[in-house]
Amino acid sequence: MKSEKEIQDASLLPRPAKLLLSWSAARDRREELEGDIEELYARRVKTEGGQKARRRLYRDVISATRTLFSGNKNSSYRKNTTKGDGIMKNLWQDLRYGARMLARNPGFTAVAVLTLALGIGANTAIFSVVNTVLLKPLPFEEPEQLVYVYEAYPEQGFWRGWHSAPLYYDWKERNESFSQISPIWRRSYILTGLGEAAHLSATSVVSDFFPLFRVTPILGRSFGPEEEVEGKDQVAVISYGFWQERFGGDGEILNTSIVLNGTPHAIIGVMPPGQEFPRNTKLWTPFVVPDESNRRGFKFMYSVARLKPEVTLEQARANMTAVAKSIAEDYPKNFSKEFDTGLLPM
């Protein structure tokens, strides 16, 4: 005599089919239903192959139990699900009636489903746009003080030009509007020695960058001015996402060495989640900004700055236009008269 367990193990029926049956068939009829359906299935597996037999199986299961949906309340095969009374019973009846009507009018059902799909789709699409454009604030404190700083030639309609290292120093020294300014150098590193080699989207910034965004690492520290020096700059602050995906959120990550473009860098900090500025930055390294005032044509960066609390955007623009004029006067070979500083709110 087989035990109950052995009997169940010997059963061929796939689990979903069994679940459907147990969910919808009356308890005292389940055994024979399962038996009949399994017998048919076992035979069809042999004669018609597994895939076809499985299709027929689910058709059988549904047809055997559809009394649940299609109304015949008195069927002995139907699980008694309408025990409730009053509101719940009426609701259940209404739902079943609705389902029957939809099943009976496939054309109407298709139109209804399509209408719902389009409506939901359009709403979702519009909400995602509104959410990113209007609702979601920058993930930084007092974001209205944050601006992009570009080399601009407004008369030519040119507002977002990259600039050179010397211009960053000029702006930093001559402005009266920024509490901090940092150049941004978007770069990519080849990461090696950590499993598969990978291309990393990274950013080099000066130490003012982190105070500028008022972001502090959740682990370790960000870098200081002493590391913006050739030879001392082999440190990296990594993003939360990169930390999770490459190191599994390892708490002992600090001072781990990773090889970027062939040079070992020590990981000194991890940034909080969601603060990967500029977008997709996996790690930040110190920007050793070359102080070579003769290389004013070498433009490969833009800057970000935080306005002083008492300075409005208009005041800052006026101030930076004046600064641009004085720079253009000092270096007439490098700047035309139209040169201006472009300030764009973030």
Partner: protein, 113 residues
């Protein structure tokens, strides 16, 4: 009384159960129905009819012993009751009467063109 009469499919199921004798359960009934009627029959329709016929008293069912195949699950066997047999005989008599009247006339009579 309407509930006492049989639908076409119910009649076929009842007749099939009668023909199968002691071997009438879900699978054999389905097989024989499909073979004899030359059409695909859904197991759900068979169960629904068996159930109705039993409630009308034309069929009787009881669960058999454990089986070595089909995961050891028992079968429910169906048998036609005395009133079921009477009903089948009556249906047959009615049909044969109508056919014999028809056969006495020209074979094409009554066919609409």
């Amino acid at each position: 009384m309407k509930g006492e009469r049989l639908g076409e499919f119910e009649e076929l199921v009842l007749l099939t159960v009668y023909g199968l004798g002691l071997e009438a359960y879900g699978v054999t009934i389905l097989d024989k129905l499909e073979k004899d009627t030359e059409r695909s029959v859904s197991i759900g329709a068979v169960y629904a009819s068996l159930d109705r016929l039993e409630k009308k008293g034309r069929l009787r069912s009881n669960v058999g012993g454990a089986t070595p195949e089909r995961g050891g699950r028992r079968k429910r066997f169906f048998a036609v009751t005395q009133s079921g047999v009477q009903m089948l005989m009556q249906m047959r008599r009615i049909r044969e009467k109508i056919w014999s009247q028809l056969d006495a006339k020209a074979p094409t009579q009554g066919v609409s063109r």
